[in-house]
Symmetry: C2
Subunit: 151 residues, 2 copies
């Protein structure tokens, strides 16, 4: 567990839980990741698979209010040229309090230590304004995100 002080400088942080803890550990309990994802209606993934995916991720950030995970995000990538951010989630009762901003800042800070020049993500409808705050652009130069789900 790493307690980060960066959020204290941001005005968005005024509603943050007073004892919020930020962790950059990949070995967090996968059941907690499963549960926070389910709290926003995402499908429940198997804890064993979640643990493996966290281990293979480039960076994992979680925010905790006591024993409760209240925010989460992770990134995959080649650790050199690019990274992709996945699973940015804040537990509903804790939303609109600056936790998402904090989790994203911590994740980008960790990716920046690798000096990765390009960070990408896929924004759900209505969330692109949130990501624009971090400098993300939608479809720059006409580049389009594409998806293939396995049959």
């Amino acid at each position: 567990m790493v307690l980060s002080g960066i959020w204290k400088r941001h005005e968005d942080s005024k509603d943050l839980p007073p004892n919020l803890i930020i962790s950059h550990e990949k070995t967090i309990p996968p059941e907690d990741v499963q549960e926070i994802c389910a709290s926003v209606g995402w499908s429940r993934r198997e804890p064993m698979l979640i643990a493996r995916a966290l281990g293979n991720s480039l960076a994992v950030v979680s925010a905790w209010d006591g024993p409760l995970m209240v925010g989460f995000a992770r990134a995959t990538g080649d650790k050199v040229f690019n990274a992709t951010i996945w699973d940015v989630v804040v537990r509903p009762p804790y939303q609109r309090r600056g936790i998402g901003l904090l989790v994203m800042r911590e994740l980008l800070k960790e990716l920046d230590t690798f000096e990765i020049p390009l960070v990408t993500l896929y924004a759900d409808p209505g969330t692109d304004g949130f990501y624009k705050r971090f400098g993300f652009l939608t479809d720059p130069s006409g580049v389009r995100g594409m998806f293939r789900e396995r049959m």
Copy 2:
């Protein structure tokens, strides 16, 4: 080096170089990757960084006509839930001969061995028709690709 026979079944393959070799090795010479990327006008990345990125990739596919790399693609990801395809390139004199299709098929075949449910990519303008042939969809459900370049 792995010689794959899958392309023999596709009509797109009729113009393929007769002795084309497909490799799934990550330890290919990074100078060759640098050079094929430069052949389509992409910026020259340092071989040492390329080698590290290949090692950290989930899958790497290259196509060879003798000693010449004529096609390339790679994917990053968590080996469980998602993968992202990068750097799909065919050397200009070898374009429109089915090499890009073959490289993509081989890469997707390797990703499918991990049973990864979601494969994504970022398509340059005018290339989405190519990727649709493999089942990729543009911005499904309004999800948008976003990019952040490091300052």
